[in-house]
């Protein structure tokens, strides 16, 4: 284990809550509806983060608690049942309904697990009702996906089938490509959680080897292991190095010979390096500061340092799960400063003092930092863009290089 400098901070966090992950989860599963049980703030957060004005009728919504619901929980449960039944009449195509807990629903202890159970009985299998919490008092940003997937685990059928299970939402095209490559490596059965159709959950059991596509799925990983699966540890599939190691870990678990792995993956690595090269030219030697946000920061820092030659000033992460990030930590340079949690004011003081060449941060901070003359890359784009795998390594590097390239391209002289 490489020595890193760990800074634990608590204070104001400039990070979304777990509800935000609905934005990509609902697109992955077009037959699912995400119903937040919360306040107008929750509704406003999700629509502001998603920019949802473009949808005719989105597959997510908020059951906004009113004063009457707060006064009596019995009524709140009745109200929720009424609202769900209205919703399902209007949206008959919905097969899975996620009841998503929020800060207010958690604080008033509205039992959504019980509500889901009750609704499941009422709906008699026509629609599956699941529940999880995306509340800001318990989850940050991408942890919402972890909780949503965790809720699906008990529904996965048991099976001893030999399979590789990829866990974490991927863009469909990226998923197809990864499945194809694993096929070339000689792994015939590759399944995904979440699946594209909420009702077509992959099986789980002792024959399952799990590769996490995202570093923020701690609870889901534990639950899958409890169902008999084996969790493979590897760096995450960002950049050619991480992607190769990640795929190789999958191959190794199926006894694929290293020569076969090299024969399939090395040409991709080679091509990926060529795609990164023009961006590396721009990024190499530049100093990078990652503020805590999507929980991808360690993996991205590793990619940008090792493959793009950037210097890491500080890598912030909302929380540090050493078990899931062990392989990433091992690849970071000696002495890298990692900060866990956040005190945004103090962190910004460090940013200003360090004057990095690029800061990865959330949308609330990007323009203010740009106005101070500091180049930024919005982190939210990283959870919406297809960035996984050797084939996307060039695009991933480009996302960071673009900020610098644009600044260099502008002139008002």
């Amino acid at each position: 284990m490489v020595q890193t400098e760990l800074l634990r901070e608590s204070g104001q966090r400039e990070v979304f809550c777990g509800l935000t992950s609905i934005v990509w989860l609902h697109r992955r599963m077009p037959d699912a509806f995400f119903l937040v049980v919360g306040s107008r703030t929750c509704a406003h957060l999700v629509q502001s983060a998603a920019g949802v004005m473009i949808f005719a009728e989105p597959r997510f919504g908020t059951a906004i608690l009113g004063e009457r619901d707060l006064a009596g929980l019995a009524d709140a449960n009745e109200e929720l049942d009424r609202l769900v039944s209205d919703l399902l009449v209007r949206r008959p195509e919905i097969r899975t309904l996620f009841l998503v807990g929020s800060c207010p629903s958690e604080v008033i202890k509205l039992d959504l697990a019980k509500a889901a159970e009750r609704l499941n009985t009422q709906l008699a299998g026509r629609v599956k009702v699941l529940n999880y919490s995306g509340s800001g008092i318990e989850t940050t940003f991408t942890q919402g996906e972890d909780q949503a997937l965790l809720a699906m685990v008990p529904l996965m059928p048991s099976s001893a089938v030999e399979q590789l299970l990829i866990v974490g939402t991927l863009a469909d095209a990226v998923e197809d490509r990864l499945v194809q490559l694993f096929g070339r490596l000689g792994i015939p059965v590759v399944t995904s959680l979440p699946p594209r159709r909420s009702t077509e959950l992959p099986p789980i059991g002792p024959g399952t080897r799990v590769l996490l596509a995202q570093p923020f799925l701690s609870a889901t990983a534990r639950a899958l292991v409890n169902r008999g699966a084996r969790l493979l540890t590897a760096p995450y599939p960002f950049g050619v190095e991480g992607s190769r190691a990640w795929m190789a870990a999958g191959a190794e678990a199926f006894g694929v010979a290293p020569a076969q792995v090299a024969a399939v993956l090395d040409p991709l690595v080679e091509r990926g390096r060529r795609a990164i090269a023009p961006h590396r030219e721009l990024l190499a030697g530049k100093r990078l500061f990652l503020l805590p946000d999507s929980q991808l920061e360690l993996s991205l820092g590793r990619f940008l340092q090792r493959e793009c030659g950037m210097e890491l000033v500080e890598v912030g992460t909302p929380y540090l799960d050493r078990q899931l990030l062990d392989a990433e930590l091992a690849l970071l340079p000696e002495g890298t400063r990692i900060s866990e949690g956040q005190d945004v004011e103090r962190q910004l003081e460090r940013v200003r003092a360090a004057r990095p060449d690029l800061v990865v941060c959330g949308l609330g901070l990007a323009n203010p930092l740009e106005a101070e003359g500091i180049a930024t890359k919005w982190s939210i784009e990283l959870v919406f863009s297809p960035i996984h795998g050797c084939d996307q390594a060039g695009e991933l590097a480009e996302l960071f290089a673009r900020s610098l390239r644009r600044r260099a391209a502008l002139s008002f002289a």
């Binding site: 104001q12 306040s39 107008r40 983060a49």
Partner: protein
Amino acid sequence: MELTLWTYEGPPHVGAMRIATSMEGVHYVLHAPQGDTYADLLFTMIERRDRRPPVTYTTFQARDLGGDTAELVKRSISEAVARFQPEALLVGESCTAELIQDQPGALAGGMELGGIPVVSLELPAYSKKENWGAAETLYQLVRGLLKPQLPPPGFAKPSPSRWQQEGRRPRVNLLGPSLLGFRCRDDVREITALLADYGIEVAVVAPLSARPADLLRIPTADANVCLYPEVAGSVCSWLERSFGMATVRTVPIGIGATASFLRELHHLLGLELPAELEPGPDGTCQAERRSRLPWYSRSVDSTYLTGKRVFIFGDATHAIAAARIASRELGFQVVGLGSYSREQARELRAAAAELGLEALISDDYLAVEAAMAAAAPELVLGTQMERHSAKRLGIPCAVISAPLHVQDVPARYSPQMGWEGANVIFDAWVHPLMMGLEEHLIGMFRHDFEFVDGHLSHLEGASAPARPAEPEPPDDQAAAEPVASVLPGHGAVVWSADGEAELAKIPFFVRGKVRKNTEAYARDRGLVQIDSEALYEAKAHFSS
């Protein structure tokens, strides 16, 4: 419990943030969990603000709930005061903190904060919304700061014409302009210049760009101008009650309203009405020539605007103003008028009644879309959401009201108020219609060799999402469907081949209307099929 898929207004604490962020020297400590910081991006992204909103969030977590969240509030307050040294401090809570009842305002009241004014905000998150929160915050802040100046009960109201005795120019306050309000930045500049033309000075503009010290000067003005009733209505009423300050409530959007506003202000301040503002025999005045809208509207080129069916939805202020301009100044026919501003429902209902309409008061955008479809308008004036609904229905649209999109904060000067505002409105409302015609032309000549595949109109370009995070799903399918098919009750009537052929001979710009009228006629007559004869019968029926 209420199902909300999308909301026009945020929670009330976002309204409070709008006031704090609009001002200078104010800081807002908000007791709120992680995630509520999302609201910062409304300002840094939509308004492209170069600074973070002056808000400190306590960001409490589940593990804090068992412990001392009150201590966290106090720590956040003292750190924020030390770091930002505000001239006034707002203290409040968001929806979740309201439930744990730490009472941050009371906590702040018990702290030694070096004498800075502290205003405790109680904004009921489970019953109120953003605009109410903004209005309440402005009111509480002004009330808190002006408390030491309160005149004794039974005081003599200051005369709005006292400037004459005091040997100075008359002066007024412009109240209500705020961030995330529609074109407030430019309205302030326009109205300030307009007033200067008549020798009226502006004492205080608030909340936009005001400091707490500026609010202390509010009573030095002769009157208040309530530019945006959604935000400034309550504070203006309070200033009337407590300081005897008169309020001008006419909102100067449109020609007629701008002229009325100026007349009202002159009358109130005891200023002699300049000849150019004297209404002539036809009710118009010379001053309105300062805007091009009246002449552009009278010019023959605008003949085609006559009777255009317009559906209007927005905040109450802009919707009411739009109805007046559309019906009187552009010769449109208003076929629907609505607002999400429940607080101003009475005014909106009155405006709708004048036009023989029933007002739609709703914050359910799907209900608004349904009303829009049923009204079959040729132009929609609405919020960004109505722009999307209109696009799905294939109807041109101009945006007239918040909630804002980054496109609603244009780089150029584009007020809504005053003479220049009327110019901006003429262009903004009429151009989509011309573009609508171009759409048809492109459709008509699509097969000509000059038109290549992939020719896209600017309508499509205009709806491109401003944030890369917004993926736009293909809605070509919805847009490509004829408007009639989405209207209720259109399923029963079919067109015969010769009916369609006859319809195709009708000029494209009236074809939609003819189709709709003929279908209505056919349904009334119980016809199942529309052939060419039925079409001519319908034509005769409607022209007789």
